[in-house]
Amino acid sequence: MIARVGCVALVAGLALPRAVHARGCHETSDVVGYHHCSWFGVDWSRDADTPRLSFDIDYYFRHFEADPFSLGSAPLVATGGPTDFHATSSGEAWRVLVGFGHFVYTGVEIDGGSLDRVPRTVGTPVVEGLELAPYALAGVHLYERYRIAVSTELAAGFRYDDFEACNTSDCPDVSQWKPDVQARVRADVFIHPHVSLGIGYGESVIDSNERIFMVGISLHGRAMDGMY
């Protein structure tokens, strides 16, 4: 029952253009040529009204190297050892994609997370950090068969990282903004015509120390995302 209600809601959402078209129209016949609120194919053909829209929610893991910095000269805790500005972060990546034709897509992505491995600095140590990274995306489906789609995409944007000595407002912190362009490959397996599970891997083309791994779930407006 829930699934059926959800199905109705989903179809109603996908049919928004038709609903707008038919607003205030009282249909008197379901037969082609006699209906005047609808038209042939509107409920089932991809050419009717439904764009290739996808919403992704991914969990990402990123490895990168921060630019050298220091939170201050007075250690709160003895850090010891050499400096190491390699760091890892993880969090959620929200993606909205729009397809053009059968293979090309574009969209936006916002990554938001926290640092898992913090840089080792001179002096006051980094204890935690936050990350925000918006990107514009452009990609192409390279392979689409059965329930699998393999894609490659470019993600261009910037990465904001905030390195903090503690979690209060008066703690020393350093923020870094870095432009970022990533080349990624991604594979999606459709577990449902409107839902796929995906994994992705990317490397920055302007920073050899940055890599990202993503795993998540996608909701597609078109069955099988309009795959041929």
């Binding site: 040529g33 194919g41 929610i57 329930r147 449902h192 015509p193 099988m224």
Partner: protein, 159 residues
Amino acid sequence: MRYPSLAFVLVLAIFTGGCYYKPASYSIDSQPFPGKRVELACLDVAVTLTDDALAPPPVLSYTFGNRCTHGTYVDLATIRVIGRGSDGSRVALHPHDPKHELAVLPIDGLWRGHEEIAYAPDPGPPPSDVCVELGHVEPDPAAPDRWVCLAASEQDGAP
């Protein structure tokens, strides 16, 4: 922050749980396709005669689902329909399409659809039986004819 997203995903997954065509099920949301069934390369097609308040008979109701995970085409525009009179005479029936809507249209993988089309002899009274060739609803020149007859005789086979 992660838990709301997980819940959101689960809700989406639950809500989309039944909204697609299950291959060979001949049903939508547990409602069976009405009428006689024909299995094509990717399409499961069912056809039956139906009534309509405005359209004069015969009106054919087509329900179809795409078993394949890739898209295919549905051709209800050039489908051949023949009426058989009570005296055994045969006449070709033509779809009522004053707005020229009928066309060969694509359908997504694992998706389904339904259409009702009225047919009229050229000219003449409504036939007692209607035979429709469903073998080429999914366009394939090499596919064999698949005639289905409806109404009084309720017999499948070539007209």
